[in-house]
């Protein structure tokens, strides 16, 4: 089993395994798991082996190697790859091959990582269970009757199933953190603007962010070092110095750190007892590591989900206008007699139900006469929510709370009930609306043995602080070292 990126690097450095051998093990593991978990939409064995061979050749000739040399990695199928299809798990983009690599993909290649394939997701990243994919549902490696979460369900399951040590996900309202929690791995949503979005197929541009998924915070730090940084091709990219994130994981001493607990949020309806227990337990662990625990509240928390579900669909309705059948992607057949019917049929056939629902919500929210009531009002509330975070972070260094109201739910449980599905984002969308970084890390198990995640949030650009606390927590606990029975 290919557990750890750090172990993969050590094996190669020590001459105990070549990059090709490691790639083969990853590819074999994918082959063994795919029919059960369906974590991938595309696997490119030849390209992966060629990349691994190139790493071995570099090593043999003494050339300098990138930070992820020979480390197999899976990439969510919403990130453009010039040598593999980029489908967003949508019929609309079945077989679509972009002519360019996303910036993060360029950076992975430059770091000598071995990209093994693309991971399954909710269609256009809209969903919390990976059930809206046009390419089949992904199953949770801990319990295949349950969802891995979403929308980065494939990326989380790919790690949890032991096929790769690292994956890249994207998080618009919790799409890295919730699947990380459901699959018992660690997932980081960086500060908005920390990682270039160039080549990330947009869902909601003001909320989308790419981030790392791995078993441990230390490995997330390793991947953050590669993908973070200013890039002029993304105008929303932050022109800020990037620290060495791995340095943050060296100390475990949390003395002097003030951690705010969102105590009230735990009282909300529909929260599983196991979640409350895990958060309470995490509070104890952090206290023991030296952190000072204080209670804080984010007063506009009850407006997070409604605000998110106006802003995100509004932007999505605009971003997804380009899929009209005219230039690329799915186009209706000959029965479409004129332009308008070609548009209507192409979009009716190419998009799934959840995508259509969000396009309709967003179109409505931006319409003349309704924009003030919905979209513009949501922007105002978003400012209040940011204000809440600013106020909270003037008192504390980090915020601690749950990631999800429940552990992984059974497949099919919420797919016909959009409101229940949207409520999965109850604790995660705040960080996206405020643009702050947040991490989900394994915090225990429920009585049925399903993983539970806990969430830390930090002020803008303080990913290092998150990784520091997360790594300290993982030095004191072993949840991130547990593996599903395969």
């Amino acid at each position: 089993m290919l557990d750890s990126a750090l172990e993969v690097l050590r094996l190669q450095a020590a001459g105990e395994a070549s990059a090709v051998e490691i790639a083969e093990r990853a590819l074999d593991a994918i082959e063994a798991s795919q029919s059960t978990h369906n974590a991938y939409t595309h696997v490119d064995r030849d390209a992966a082996l060629a990349a691994a061979q190139a790493v071995d050749a570099k090593r043999a000739s003494g050339q300098p190697l990138g930070a992820l040399a020979g480390v197999p990695i899976a990439v969510k199928d919403v990130l453009c790859t010039s040598d593999m299809p980029t489908t967003c798990s949508s019929e609309m983009l079945r077989g679509f091959r972009p002519p360019y690599d996303a910036t993060v993909v360029e950076k992975l290649r430059a770091a000598d990582a071995v990209i093994v394939g693309k991971t399954n997701m909710d269609e256009f990243a809209m969903g919390a269970s990976t059930e809206t994919s046009a390419f089949g549902i992904t199953k949770n490696p801990w319990d295949t009757s349950r969802t891995p979460g979403g929308s980065s369900g494939g990326a989380a399951a790919a790690v949890a199933a032991g096929t790769v040590p690292l994956s890249l996900g994207t998080d618009t309202g919790g799409s890295i953190r919730q699947p990380a929690a459901f699959c018992g791995v660690t997932g980081l949503k960086p500060t908005y603007g920390r990682v270039s979005r160039y080549g990330l197929v947009a869902f909601a541009s003001s909320l989308d962010q790419i981030g790392p998924m791995a078993w441990s915070a230390d490995e997330c730090a390793l991947l953050m070092n590669v993908i973070a940084g200013f890039e002029p091709r993304d105008s929303t990219s932050l022109d800020q110095a990037v620290p060495d994130f791995t340095l943050a994981t060296e100390s475990n001493d949390l003395r002097g750190m003030r951690i705010g607990v969102l105590r009230e949020s735990l009282q909300a309806e529909g929260i599983d007892e196991s979640i409350r227990t895990a958060v309470a337990h995490a509070i104890g662990v952090f206290a023991e590591l030296g952190a000072e625990i204080v209670d804080v509240d984010l007063p506009h928390r009850e407006y997070w989900v409604p605000t998110y579900y106006v802003i995100a669909p509004s932007e999505a309705s605009s971003n997804l206008s380009r899929y009209d059948g005219a230039h690329y992607g799915h186009r209706a057949g000959e029965e479409a007699k004129d332009l308008v019917s070609m548009y209507c049929r192409s979009r009716a056939e190419g998009f799934g139900a959840e995508v259509k629902r969000r396009i309709m919500i967003g179109t409505y929210a931006l319409s003349e006469g309704y924009a003030d009531e919905y979209y513009n009002k949501a922007l105002k509330v978003r400012r209040l929510i940011r204000g809440d975070y600013d106020a909270a972070f003037s008192q504390v260094d980090l915020l601690l709370g749950p990631v999800t109201p429940t552990p992984a739910f059974p497949l099919g449980d919420k797919i016909d009930d959009p409101i229940q599905m949207y409520l999965c984002d109850l604790f995660t969308v705040g960080a996206n609306l405020a643009g702050v970084p947040a991490i989900s890390l394994p915090g225990g198990f429920d009585p049925a043995g399903l993983p539970i995640g806990i969430q830390l949030q930090a002020p803008t650009l303080e990913e290092s602080r998150l990784l520091f606390a997360a790594s300290a927590f993982q030095s004191a606990t072993d949840y991130h070292t547990q593996r599903p029975n395969q």
Binding site: C80, Y100, A102, R197, S206, P232, S235, E315, S321, R322
Partner: protein
């Protein structure tokens, strides 16, 4: 039946394409006339995942333009998405500016076409930046509805300049457009070539009819597809008559019929209603989340204001007084833009003959530019070379005709004047050689000799052509002088 007193109300929306080397949000070239879909990239194609990055030069040009038309440049401007579906709009939205345009609240003073001594001040509501769409080419030959799309133009920067409804006649509209075009070319903001689409005009027009003290407004018509200033004038005249007739016939007013869109048919000389959407379009404008708002500090605005230099009027007056050229000639040079003015200044100054420089520029330089399709900044004959050439003409070293040959050679092949002279085989002809030639010609043309002796000196002219066919370097002035001297002394 006599017509009631009527006031025509006209407002113009003018799109000018900004003269940037690259597009508004990507590095693709804005060059006109390249093969379809060769100046495109993931950004202007609107491919999934691609993101726009603002072209600073477009901001600079927009501010220049705005200052020239007396606009405020607000400290904050932002980008919005205007959403509609069309195949030449690959993102399904156009990045434009909705509520915070880069230029606001300006005006343009025009000469009053009805009164030579007065001017009219035309308000400018706003000017905003936006990206152009591509071009759809519909080929319905052979019974096939075959549409092709060229996205080269997609993402080209446009400045949309919206006037107040302050214009009262088609002639005022023409004066406004002429002045605006002159400003924009003069400042290097735009080429303003209507044929190439770098200047486009939509006109909003209606009538206020005074019916015995009651003011009745006819429905506003937005006229599109006018591809020359002449057409704008014709369309406005047509529309004024048509609206009055329509009102007499139907009584339609702005209250009952609001606003409609008409096209202009140049061949038939008529406006015609364009197909209207059942509901008014809802563009669902919202701030573009891929671009940050732009802060424009007042220092930057003042810096640009300071760099604007003289206005076209000031340049025209200066050229007349400095070089003694006529108002018409100054006007032609100024209307070619600032690059041409600089070129002219350099030539006139260096050769010392502003009139000769003006005539050469208007004839030879402008003709070559038109044939070669370039602009004066990259023209093959430098101002220094042309000045040198004209000095040679002034000194008699070269004839006008031979200088033209040299000019043509330079503009086609580049290189230096001496090289060109050498390549063309132009040599100074020695006077004794010329005298031998003229003697031969006089011997062969006794009638010319007689005519001159009888007082008709012009008869010598027929010798000049003959001399030049024998020796192209022959200087007509010298041939004339030698011939007259020889006849007189004979």
């Amino acid at each position: 039946m006599s017509q009631l007193p009527t006031t025509t109300i006209i407002g113009l929306e003018v799109h000018v394409q900004l003269k940037t080397a690259t597009k508004l949000f990507c590095g693709c070239s804005t060059k006109f006339g390249s093969p379809p879909n060769t100046q495109v990239c993931p950004v202007c194609l609107g491919l999934p995942g691609a993101l726009p990055v603002i072209n600073e030069h477009a901001i600079e040009l927009a501010i220049r333009a705005g200052l020239a038309i007396n606009c405020d440049i607000p400290p904050l401007t932002k980008w919005d998405r205007k959403q509609y579906f069309y195949p030449d709009l690959p993102k399904g939205y156009q990045i434009s500016q909705f509520d915070l345009p880069i230029c606001a609240d300006g005006c343009l003073e025009i000469a009053d076409p009805a009164d030579d001594d007065s001017t009219r001040k035309i308000g400018i509501t706003r000017a905003h930046l936006e990206e152009d769409a591509g071009k759809s080419m519909h080929d319905e030959a052979a019974g096939r509805a075959d549409s092709r799309i060229d996205l080269n133009r997609c993402g080209t920067p446009l400045l949309e300049i919206v006037s107040e409804p302050d214009l009262r006649t088609a002639e005022e509209a023409l004066a406004y457009l002429t002045k605006l075009k002159e400003m924009m070319t003069h400042l290097g903001v735009s080429d303003c070539e209507m044929q190439e689409g770098s200047l486009r005009v939509d006109a909003n027009v209606n009538l206020h009819i005074d019916k015995h003290g009651e003011r009745i407004a006819t429905p506003i018509v937005e006229v599109k597809n006018m591809n020359s200033f002449r057409n704008v004038v014709a369309a406005l005249h047509f529309e004024v008559d048509r609206q009055y007739a329509e009102w007499e016939e139907t009584g339609n007013t702005i209250e009952t019929h609001g606003k409609r869109t008409f096209g202009w048919n140049d061949v038939k000389g008529v406006t015609y209603p364009q197909r209207e959407k059942e509901e008014s379009a809802d563009y669902r404008y919202f701030p573009c989340p891929d671009l940050l708002p732009i802060r424009i500090p007042s220092e930057r605005v003042e810096e640009i204001r300071a760099s604007l230099g003289e206005t076209p009027e000031e340049t025209r007056e200066r050229l007349q007084s400095q070089y003694g050229i006529k108002a018409y000639d100054a006007d032609v040079i100024v209307s070619q833009g600032r690059g041409m003015v600089q070129y002219y200044d350099a030539v006139a100054m260096a050769c010392g003959d502003g009139k000769r420089a003006s005539s050469w520029i208007q004839q030879d330089v402008m003709r070559s530019l038109k044939e070669q399709g370039g602009d004066i900044e990259s023209f093959g004959v430098t101002a220094e070379q042309l000045a040198q050439l004209l000095s040679k003409v002034s000194s008699g070293e070269l004839t006008n005709d031979r200088a033209r040959d040299v000019f043509k050679h330079l503009s086609e092949n580049g290189g230096g004047i001496d090289e060109a002279i050498k390549a063309l085989g132009i040599e100074a002809v020695d006077d004794s050689e010329m005298e031998t030639l003229v003697k031969e010609l006089l011997a062969a043309n006794p009638k010319v000799v007689d005519d001159v002796k009888n007082g008709n000196q012009k008869a010598v002219g027929s010798l000049i052509g003959q001399a030049r066919s024998k020796n192209p370097n022959a200087n007509p002035q010298i041939i004339r002088e030698i011939a007259l001297r020889l006849i007189e002394n004979a």
